[in-house]
Symmetry: C2
Subunit: 405 residues, 2 copies
């Protein structure tokens, strides 16, 4: 008789955004006349840039003709896209990443969920708290996180690194040595960043401890301040301890278009000399069949002169929203952080309110949807996330309503 | 110190088609003047049908405008596509599959690699031999297959069901009871099919044994004979024992466009009543972010009147190639099977030759690339696969060369 993977049964409740969706739908059904503005899920609202659209149409036309039709893509991604990534995201930042260290995927969510597969089931992970739920949930599914305590909302076999106002929402080096460290900067959900010397400390720590850093740089394009690293490979020694995950979702609006990539340096090896690059290549070759050709051409267009200019304008649009949210919340008396190098604004719920209480309060009284901080981990309790990914008009209206509360 | 997933180190050599690619490239470099025809990897050569191209262009245009732009897709796929699948692939065949039993993915390779995740690591799998390598390799990566014996080319903890000329390339019910049974009909690589009464036997067996059948129906569109089931859900009781995997790669040329789906019936439960549908939904929601919107629209177009007509013509084109290959090989004195309900022709290598010897012989003397049967498992030794996915002109030329050997 077949048995299921019992680790799945240990997972608490359902995925955060499903829960929010259900709450919002219930509210809508009960209040069909209310106009709800969502600054909740980190989903973009601006259409794809013209250069990307042109590239998509061109690639579609190629698929219509036998001579230019493309079947199976190279497992690891087309050379044209991997070269553009190596040149623009790495060489231009002084980081020397080779084309065969770049693995094109159908998005950073998939990569951040799948990357744990190439590690031992006995490895111990360290995560920031609050944290993007996918890191922990996928390790839980694999059986790496022990048991879940409903009271504390913590897993028994995970090292949590609290990120609160007290430490500027930046994790401190953990006391217990982890095997795998998940870091995300600019951070989802807090919008916090760390400067290059601080990231260098993490790299040095990982190299010394023999730990791997899974560095999620999905929000890199939103960095506006100097000395905030755009890639972990700006740090010395990162190639022997870090995997970097990148997405086209937030810098170019690909949330519904699906494209991302992972960098697994060839110098990254275990104590027996086994190459993680080779393991990830094997995983890609066996379980994945490449991102669609036309989508990879869309990704290439992000790096064209026009594409760079147009996506930069979109980011400026969202960051103007971030400014409006941050300033508006301050005017309304809230304590806020983030929103400078990231499209997320992290605010403290009014005194005495839990994150979910504030969620319900905001939904009912301002018809604005945000994301409860506690949904990202217990240290997120009492905090709340708003995103800059709405339209300008909705953002203005949402803040007007919040100020009137 | 981090450790790797040591199961990866147990995997033999590299993926079959990578090895073929390397051999072909080496031959090309040594013989730059030779014109090589590949009837090896199962990759299509016909461009996407006009109805699909139109749909892609339309969807791209929607992505260019704020009002019609689409961000994150529903985890499990857009309703428009899932409805079209339920109606055309199931209701039309008399199989009652609900929309929320259908999970849209980026291809059947991914699904067939990922599906094992929702099962216990202690489950024992049964596979046909020869077999599509992804089923076994992904279970090996998870640690479910024991140790690999280089001599026998068998894993210690896998139940193999030999498919040879003696049994018409159809597996027999295994003596030892498996927990998970992988079946693929029409079969890759042998091109064999089984009739509905035989498939019903498998369904009855699985229900009685408490086993799950993973039914790979990627080549369903190539069925030309009566009484060969198009879906396992034509069999009574299949919804309590079977998961079905489908692809758009072979019926509509999506190998480089990436789209597939899995059917996980809600009635499929373990002995404790845990729903596999719910587990797969959780897996999708946590590790996957949907197939691209524009690709899902392309999938929808496959089910339009024009789309059906045009893709049917493409299949007829490939099946004409299959006929040419089969008849040509017979004329040349080969023993062949397959090619009637499947785009694969399975031939016996000339006496005394191993599969790889025949591969080398055919490459060197006819400049034709096929796939060695032994690459799909030890019972494939002495056999060889040719695919009907080449162009008509190349297929004619390849057979001309083979006949002249």
């Amino acid at each position: 008789m077949f048995k299921i993977n019992e680790n799945y049964l240990k997972l608490p409740g359902s995925y955060l955004f499903s829960t929010i969706g259900k709450k919002v739908n219930a509210y809508k059904e009960a209040n069909p006349d209310k106009e709800i503005i969502s600054l909740g899920i980190g989903d973009v609202t601006q259409p794809l840039a013209p250069a990307i659209i042109d590239s998509l149409h061109k690639a579609v036309d190629e698929m219509a003709v036998r001579e230019t039709f493309r079947g199976y893509a190279p497992d690891l991604g087309y050379e044209f896209l991997r070269s553009a990534i190596a040149k623009n995201d790495y060489a231009a930042r002084g980081a020397d990443i080779a084309v065969d260290e770049i693995f094109v995927s159908d998005g950073a969510k998939c990569d951040s969920g799948n990357i744990q597969e190439i590690f031992s089931i006995n490895n111990k992970i360290a995560v920031c708290d609050p944290v993007y739920p996918v890191y922990v949930d996928t390790n839980a599914m694999a059986g790496r996180t022990g048991t879940y305590n409903k009271e504390t909302e913590l897993w028994s076999n995970v090292i949590y690194m609290p990120c609160k106002a007290e430490n500027g929402f930046a994790p401190e080096l953990p006391e217990e040595t982890p095997d795998i460290i998940y870091l995300c900067f600019p951070n989802n959900p807090t919008g916090a960043t760390i400067k290059k010397p601080q990231l260098q400390e993490w790299v040095d720590y990982a190299n010394k401890a023999g730990a791997v850093i899974i560095y999620d740089a999905a929000y890199e394009a939103y960095i506006s301040e100097e000395d905030v690293p755009h890639t972990i490979y700006e740090c010395e020694g990162a190639k022997t301890c870090a995997i970097e995950l990148k997405s086209f979702s937030k810098n170019a609006g690909f949330t519904g278009t699906r494209l991302g990539y992972a960098v697994v340096p060839k110098a990254l090896k275990d104590s027996d000399g086994n190459s993680l690059n080779a393991l990830w290549a094997r995983r890609h070759g066996t379980k994945f069949n490449g991102a669609p050709y036309i989508i990879q051409r869309a990704g290439e267009a992000v790096y064209s002169e026009e594409g760079k200019k147009q996506t930069k304008e979109q980011i400026a649009y969202y960051m103007n929203n971030a400014r409006i949210i941050k300033e508006g919340l301050k005017e309304a008396g809230f304590t806020v952080s983030g929103g400078v190098n990231a499209p997320y604004i992290w605010l403290t719920a009014p005194s005495g309110m839990t994150s979910w209480e504030f969620f319900d309060y905001l939904l009912a009284n301002a018809n604005v949807v945000g994301t409860p901080g506690s949904g990202f981990g217990p240290s997120g309790e009492g905090y709340f996330r708003l995103t800059a990914f709405g339209t300008y008009e909705n953002t203005i209206e949402a803040l007007k309503r919040i100020k009137e509360l």
